[in-house]
């Protein structure tokens, strides 16, 4: 699947920036490019967003296009659906992904279904940005990772970047897409830095995973925070085990080909994602590999995620349940 615009090359010149800055620049560029793009959410204006992603955008674009909303996720996500259907490109911020339950109906029954139910005659250029993940002691109602729901639910495109480049390129593709796209940002990696192409026409096609590091012995398919941790781990293990790390980037559509190709080479798979394990994102990656590379597998596939609990408050407990480098390492050890 490709986005409205073809993937630009334009990666000649890059700039090092954080994921936060990359997201903000994506918003800025798309708002400059298209007057129909506007942002709305709780405290995205003067306050700049709780994670400071929208930052100073209100100064440049004004309060109509960087719109603070009352605390009504169903209402304003629904308004986003209605606005998208009638000729604008809303970018709706849901502060924490745990709050998606509040507006689930509008996402599942309206945003995701309208095009199909209406015989393809309605466009739905709606982007929903939200934050996921534990690690800051925010406890169970502000630390969840729920992207599997949306990867599963038909009619929704779901992306979850692990690097600044992916963050910028995917958010831009999301905004340009005529389908509802959910962008899942992990809140612990806003400060992560990396090179980002400066060309304002740079985008990353939705549906393409990225091989972040090549290796021969085992494939680690990771998402979000765990991309960085897996790449770092792969460096540490270098010489010992040769680890290929893939940033999944798009959850739906899923780039089965890139994963299968890697597993055909390595014969071993670890999936690292912060979803709760049972019925999580991991299982789908494993199912695809089973279907298309079963005969290449030398060992059972492994998964790393949250052990079916909520995210507890106490740092000791939170640390226990959050998947990290050590868990990925243990999974690798189980198969090599």
């Amino acid at each position: 699947m490709s986005t409205a615009t073809e993937p630009s090359e334009g990666r000649e010149s890059t700039e090092t920036m954080t994921i936060r800055a990359a997201l903000r620049e994506a918003l800025r560029e798309e708002m400059e490019r298209d007057e129909g793009v506007f942002v709305m959410g709780e405290d995205v204006g003067v306050f700049g967003g709780v994670f400071d992603v929208t930052g100073d955008l209100v100064d440049q674009f004004g309060e109509e296009r960087v719109r603070d909303t009352p605390i009504s996720e169903a209402g304003f996500a629904g308004a986003g659906v209605g606005a998208a259907a009638t000729g604008t490109r809303p970018v709706v911020e849901i502060m924490f992904s745990d709050f998606l339950g509040v507006c689930m109906e509008q996402l599942m029954n309206q945003a995701a279904k309208n095009r199909y139910m209406f015989g393809g005659k309605t466009e739905m250029p709606l982007t929903i940005r939200t934050t996921e993940g534990g690690g800051m002691g925010a406890a169970s109602q502000h630390s969840g990772t729920v992207h599997t729901w949306f990867a599963h639910f038909p009619g929704i495109i779901a992306v979850a970047p692990g690097t600044p480049e992916a963050a910028k390129g995917l958010l831009k593709s999301a905004i340009r897409s005529n389908d509802p796209v959910m962008v899942f940002e992990n809140k612990m990696i806003y400060e992560r830095e990396g090179p980002v192409p400066t060309d304002p026409d740079f985008t990353i096609p939705i549906g393409e995973a990225s091989v972040e590091r090549e290796g021969e012995d085992v494939t680690v398919v990771a998402t979000q925070r765990l991309v960085g941790e897996s790449v770092d781990l792969a460096e540490d293990l270098d010489g010992d085990v040769s680890v290929e790390v893939i940033d999944l980037r798009s959850l739906y559509p899923l780039d089965t080909d890139t994963i299968v190709e890697s597993v055909e080479k390595t014969g071993r798979l670890v999936v690292a994602d912060e979803s709760p394990l049972s019925y999580g994102t991991h299982a789908e990656v494993m199912a695809r590999v089973n279907e298309e590379a079963f005969f290449s597998l030398d060992a059972p596939m492994q998964r790393v995620g949250v052990p079916d609990t909520h995210i507890p408050f106490s740092p000791v407990l939170e640390e226990e349940v959050l998947p990290g480098s050590e868990d990925v390492r243990a999974a690798i050890d189980r198969v090599v």
Binding site: M1, T3, A4, G36, F38, E64, R65, T69, P70, S72, A74, G75, F76, A77, G78, A79, G80, V81, G82, A83, A84, A85, T86, G87, T88, P90, E105, Q106, N109, Q110, N114, R115, Y116, M117, F118, G119, G120, K121, T122, E123, P154, G155, I157, S177, N178, D179, G207, Y252, P253, L254, T256, V260, E264, N290, E291, E292, A293, F294, F295, S296
Partner: protein, 344 residues
């Protein structure tokens, strides 16, 4: 510019014609459903025609409406073509939704119809979004959402009203109080005499009108539309009405008495409006009959067409999910499920 100017004789006649068209459409749909020709659920608008027609008459063609599970009347009132609607009820490719939507999902965004909706209360946020587009784009459109008395208990309806009120959006919230939400009477769903009291929570005008009187609806919506276009924000209108049929076709209706139904039927919005026009000398009995017959013929033709229209092919099930091809669905559409585990 309004769609139908009820201040003129021609306009009143057109309004009558549309109400008859809705009546004919829904009477026919009811029969076809009973005969097993139409699958799924069908919720009829019979008895409530004055609300949809009065409201849409007062709107410009460019204005938007959002609708409900009981949407046929809103569609015809907004100018949708009964032929495409009937084809949709039959699940045919020529239908408004290529047969994918059915009765509960007829939509035509180009005609300003944002869609019938199977989710009670989901329409008002959508209409609010259309009003937001108008504000963001600086367009002079208004957006009206129909919803039922039952829907007023849904939180998202309140959220939508609050957004529209706080942002002064060009929106109109029109509640069709047909006295029941499925089998539950309005008194068991709400603690207020008039649902228009809801407006007080949002600092906007709220009125209760006679929803059996197409002129009353037209006037109330006209005023609300002026207010919206002037930038003065939304209006909440409660139109008292009644559904003459069951909640859905096949409803055993254990929850109401025959007498109540008859009492409301005596106030039939079509009959009473036609009588008024006849009294005024604008219409003769014969002309009224002719209008009714013409409406019925139109719907019969739509049925004929729908019956003969081709079925979608099974593969069409895989179309229309996204604006761009998605490999997963492309594979399914090709019947291309290998899952052969790759090379050995």
């Amino acid at each position: 510019m309004v769609t139908i100017d009820l201040e003129t004789e021609a306009g009143r006649r057109e309004a009558l014609r549309r109400m008859c068209s809705i009546r004919a459409f829904d009477s026919t749909a009811g029969e076809l459903f009973a005969d097993g020709e139409i699958p799924g659920f069908v919720h009829l608008y019979i008895g409530e025609e004055a609300v949809g027609v009065g409201a849409c008459a007062a709107l410009d063609e460019d204005d938007y409406i959002s609708s409900t599970h009981r949407g046929h009347g809103h569609c015809i009132a907004k100018g949708l073509d009964p032929e495409g609607m009937m084809a949709e009820l039959y699940g045919k490719r020529e239908g408004y939704c290529n047969g994918k939507g059915g009765s509960m999902h007829i939509a035509d965004v180009d005609s300003g119809m944002l869609g019938a909706n199977g989710i009670v209360g989901a329409g008002p946020p959508l209409a609010t979004g259309a009003a937001l587009t108008a504000q963001v784009r600086g367009e002079q459109r208004v957006s009206l959402s129909f919803c039922g008395d039952g829907a007023v208990a849904q939180g998202q309806v309140h959220e939508a009203i609050n957004l529209a009120a706080t942002w002064d959006l060009p929106a109109i919230f029109l509640v069709e109080n047909n006295q029941f939400g499925e089998g539950t009477p309005v008194e068991k769903q709400h603690n207020i005499e008039n649902l228009s009291a809801t407006a007080e929570a949002y600092g906007i005008p709220g009125i209760t009108i006679d929803g059996m009187d197409v002129t009353a609806v037209y006037e109330a919506v006209s005023e609300a539309r002026e207010r919206a276009r002037a930038g003065d924000g939304p209006t909440f209108i409660e139109a008292d009405t009644y559904r003459f049929r069951g909640h859905f076709e096949g409803d055993p209706e254990p929850y109401r008495d025959e007498e109540d139904v008859s009492a409301w039927q005596a106030r039939d919005p079509i009959e009473t409006f036609a009588e008024r026009l006849i009294e005024r000398g604008e219409l003769t009995e014969e002309e009224f009959e002719a209008i009714e017959e013409e409406a019925e013929r139109e719907i019969e033709a739509a049925v004929e067409n729908a019956r003969e229209a081709p079925e979608p092919t099974p593969e069409e099930a895989y179309e229309d999910m996204f604006s761009q091809p998605v490999p997963e669905i492309t594979d399914f559409a090709r019947g291309d499920v290998r899952a052969d585990g790759g090379d050995r």
